[in-house]
């Protein structure tokens, strides 16, 4: 528990920073002293962007398995590092083009304990005669013993009646196996892994799922917490607090508010009572981030909620988790922007901010692979590992369900600003919300705010050091302005091998004098010298070849921006949205690959995008 208190006092320091004169060197996260810091190659005080996923299932998840995945966590970690793994479906192997920096397999907790792996070599089992033969130094003896064993076991022979084989006490759970596999693939400085599982609560098929991530494998509870224990998020948080008291370090990340029919960001708790300050605090103690975009759609905003946002109608996946392709009816409570607005309103009413979420993108792939590359999309499930199944439908599936598969997005990515590629650094970045989410592209977004930046800050070589020392990064708070509007620094750069950028927007939400919430979108940078945001960037995609060209758009945007409508008395938040130029949707790549017409019931091109975590302002 001490650790948590320390981290939160640290967060509090960040929020007060704009009032404090710093010596220009102090970095908020370096105030932690409980962590051993041996620096790996690539360490940077001003931080690097590391891309990864923490929401990945394998055949060890019940639905990964029933939907045709044939691989497990070991394969998943190998995939993320660039190896080719078996794909199931039509048999095409899965391989990412550009490997990821970090990865966490988060199989559903609901069925983890159900199937036991057989034996721990440390256990009594290894003392059995046959085990001695199997482990013999003589390879021939070992092989023969092994053959005998297999035969005996499959024919109901003597060995199969050995009671030790059915003794639960010597059985090792799948959960433990997952943790071990996760540790095995951790290579500090090169590739980071986290033990994780998913708590899959969906009361009445309304999605309340959370991925639970552990900083490391120390003091992890022996059994993961599942929705069979409770479907109430409050109970999950209680369990998390208890786990912390027992020495574990963990956080939870909700996703797919779009499939929650208003339940994800409901203004009531699970008992139907209005959200209280205690509820807000418990929620924020346990879940600092929200997964804004993944295969089951993007839940930033819905056109019904923000009719003036011309880019809101993007990869929505408008379904509940019902098997009958049911549509949700409640928009409020389902999308992040609206929740951020509700959050600052509740905060201004003294109820705390239960929705003060940082932002990541993620995958939810159920076939070990995150499937984040639009031109290398292999589907969510194993059965979709066949372009014809993805586009034309899985044989035997009702068409509404096939349409659900077609409306899947490719996986998103979590971008994390961390000093180095270690569990320590990446986990701490998630905790302080110095993260951004993308729809799968590896664009990088920096976002800082301060009342103390000089006007020419970005022309200086050491601007980044100053941005940290005189201000706060994404995910932090600004408070108590004397009337002066904050200055923001925004830097966005395209994915090296990806598409150019169309524009940078700042999305501001605030509570006005009457206590009502408002939102406004500012186009703060436009490519190709445009000055009018209503002018489209154009579209270079050739639907016959599924190719686009970077002859439009910019490779990089870098600017400062001050809020022209700032009111020091109003609670507000600001986050950055960066749009790419249009590129082919995965279904367009598939159609071209199959030599069939591009479907007209799906967008043929999309503008992939990224979102920074917000910076919040409050008068006190």
């Amino acid at each position: 528990m001490k650790k948590i208190v320390l981290l939160f006092s640290c967060l509090a320091m960040i929020s007060c920073k704009n009032e404090v004169k710093t010596d220009g060197k102090t970095e908020p996260n370096n105030t932690e002293t409980d962590d051993t810091t041996s620096r790996t190659a690539g360490f940077s005080e001003t931080k690097n962007a590391y891309f990864g996923n923490l929401h990945i299932h394998t055949s060890w998840s019940f639905d990964g398995f029933t939907n045709g995945s044939i691989t497990g966590p070991d394969d998943a970690y190998r995939w993320a590092q660039g190896e080719s793994i078996p794909g199931g479906g039509d048999g095409t192997p899965l391989q990412i083009k550009v490997p990821l920096d970090w990865y966490a397999v988060s199989d559903h907790a609901e069925w983890m304990g159900m199937f036991k792996l057989m034996a721990d070599p440390e256990s009594e089992l290894s003392k059995l005669d046959f085990a001695k033969r199997v482990t013999s130094e003589d390879a021939a003896v070992a092989f023969k013993a092994f053959g005998d064993f297999l035969y005996d076991f499959s024919t109901g022979g003597e060995l199969s009646k050995e009671p030790l084989f059915s003794d639960e006490n010597i059985m090792k759970s799948v959960w433990k196996e997952i943790i071990e596999t996760t540790d095995k693939h951790y290579k500090p400085g090169k590739f980071t892994t986290f033990p994780a599982f998913e708590w899959s609560s969906n009361p009445n098929t309304r999605n309340l799922h959370r991925v639970v991530v552990f900083k490391n494998s120390e003091n992890i509870p022996e059994i993961a917490y599942s929705a069979l224990n409770s479907t109430r998020p409050e109970d999950l948080w209680t369990w998390m607090e208890e786990s912390r008291a027992n020495g574990a370090t963990l956080l939870a990340i909700p996703h797919n508010g779009n499939a929650s029919d208003g339940l994800m960001f409901s203004l009531n708790d699970s008992d139907g009572n209005p959200i209280s300050k205690a509820y807000s605090e418990a929620r924020m103690r346990n879940e600092p981030l929200y997964e804004i975009s993944q295969i089951k759609g993007t839940s930033e905003v819905h056109p019904d909620l923000s009719p003036n946002d011309e880019f809101a109608n993007f990869e929505l996946w408008d379904y509940t988790l019902s098997a009958t392709a049911e549509r949700p009816t409640n928009r409020k409570g389902s999308y992040l922007r609206h929740a951020l607005l509700d959050g600052i309103r509740l905060d201004s009413e003294g109820k705390g901010n239960p929705f003060k979420y940082g932002i990541i993108g993620d995958s939810d792939g159920h076939n070990s692979a995150a499937s984040v590359e639009e031109d290398n999309y292999t589907g969510k499930f194993g059965m979709e590992n066949d372009p014809s199944h993805r586009v034309n439908g899985v044989p035997g599936f009702p068409d509404p369900n096939n349409q659900q598969l077609r409306e899947f997005s490719s996986g998103g990515l979590a971008g994390v600003w961390a000093e180095e590629n270690t569990r320590e650094a990446i986990y701490n970045a998630m905790l302080r919300k110095e993260t951004f989410g993308t729809t799968g592209t590896r664009m990088k977004i920096r976002f800082f705010g301060s009342f103390n930046y000089s006007e020419d800050i970005i022309s200086k070589d050491d601007w980044l050091t100053t941005a940290y020392s005189n201000g706060v990064p994404m995910g932090s708070n600004l408070i108590n302005s004397d009337g002066k509007a904050p200055t923001f620094i925004i830097h966005a750069i395209k994915e090296p091998d990806g598409a150019n950028l169309d524009r940078v927007q700042i999305i501001k939400g605030w509570v006005d004098a009457t206590g009502a919430t408002q939102e406004k979108i500012y186009n703060v940078a436009l490519s190709d010298g445009r000055t009018d945001g209503s002018v489209s960037v154009g579209n270079t995609v050739d639907l016959k070849t599924a190719k686009y060209s970077n002859t439009i758009g910019d490779t990089e945007f870098f600017m400062t921006w001050a809020d022209p409508d700032f009111d020091a008395e109003q609670n507000a938040f600001y986050y950055v949205r960066v749009l790419e130029i249009p590129t082919p949707r995965w279904s367009t790549y598939d159609a071209v690959h199959l030599g069939i017409p591009v479907r007209t019931d799906l967008p043929s091109t999309i503008q992939e995008r990224g979102w920074s975590s917000p910076i919040w302002y409050s008068p006190i």
């Binding site: 070599p121 290894s126 070992a142 064993f149 297999l150 693939h185 369990w239 208890e242 490779t555």
Partner: protein, 292 residues
């Protein structure tokens, strides 16, 4: 919901259950009762699992609930077996097959590999462990955002400053967030930062002079390489852990196919395909292959 009420399958189920319950009521005395035994082992187990989760024993009511859940599951399971609901259930088949795979995985890890086995594996798969090319280099970037023709500008700059010092060259390009000097950076890292074209174009380049234009995702670059380190095979001891993991991974796959081939010997696989869509020769071929 309306649609659901029209569903014939639902009618079938509802009628079925009603009949079943009625039959049960009428025949209550004639049906011999089955026994579900909950013994010390079961209860201890239920409690132990709860305690692992909650770090406290269950209350009496909680325990009663847990036992009730177990009984319900057991009864449904037993009745489902009697109704042969497990037969030809693809999911049950897959799950049991997967359990066999777990079994073979555990057998594979029963015996720790010897150093000798690991060294042999290392030798046989050495290409997998080669480090990537590594470079120390200076670079300047010519960005399409700021120039009409960034390629030509790079060419012109190289012509104009063929022997420029590092200080002179430093400000010739455009400001982008990439270092002017990279020390011992490997090809993979360069690929992640600048795009895969960049390290590819560095292969076989001359060192100690300005070269280019080298393409990247951000335009073109002029590059001065001061050092190239060829791919190297790390010392066995330094990567023994990784080799062990890879060995185990491959070994599990071997054991899995061994298990399959051993068990297959107990079965004859027959094909009874009459469809004219299939060439009988192909069926014959399958028959032969599958029984090898």
């Amino acid at each position: 919901m309306k649609e659901l009420l029209k569903e014939p399958f639902l009618h079938f189920i509802v009628i079925g259950i009603t009949l079943f319950v009625l039959y049960g009521l009428v025949n209550d005395k004639t049906i011999s009762k089955n026994t579900i035994l909950i013994n010390d082992f079961d209860v201890t187990n239920i409690i132990a699992r709860w305690e692992m989760q909650w770090k406290r024993p269950p209350t009496e009511k909680e325990l009663q609930n847990l036992i009730n859940l177990k009984v319900k599951q057991e009864i449904f399971y037993q009745e489902a077996l009697k109704m042969n609901l497990d037969h030809n259930d693809e999911i049950i088949k897959r799950r049991l097959a997967q359990k066999m795979k777990f079994l073979s995985n555990d057998i594979a890890s029963l015996k720790e590999p010897t150093d000798e086995e690991l060294r042999k594996y290392f030798k046989d798969h050495s290409e997998k462990y080669l480090t990537p090319y590594s470079y120390s280099l200076y670079q300047i970037t010519f960005s399409p955002d700021k120039r009409e023709n960034n390629f030509n500008d790079a060419v012109e700059t190289l012509k104009q400053y063929p022997n420029a010092t590092f200080e002179e060259m430093k400000d010739q390009g455009d400001k982008l967030p990439f270092s002017y000097f990279f020390e011992e950076v490997n090809a993979n890292e360069l690929g992640l930062l600048l795009g895969l074209k960049f390290p590819e174009a560095l292969i076989d380049q001359e060192i100690d002079q300005w070269i280019g234009p080298i393409p990247s995702g951000f335009g073109h670059h002029l590059v001065f390489i001061t050092k190239i380190t060829e791919p190297q095979l790390p010392e066995f001891d330094s990567i023994k852990k990784d080799i062990g993991n890879d060995y185990e991974y491959d070994h599990q796959k071997e054991i899995d196919s061994l298990l399959f081939s051993l068990l297959k010997k107990k079965y004859v696989i027959e094909f009874d395909i009459k469809s004219e869509d299939f060439d009988p020769k192909f069926v014959e071929y399958l028959q032969e292959e599958m029984n090898k």
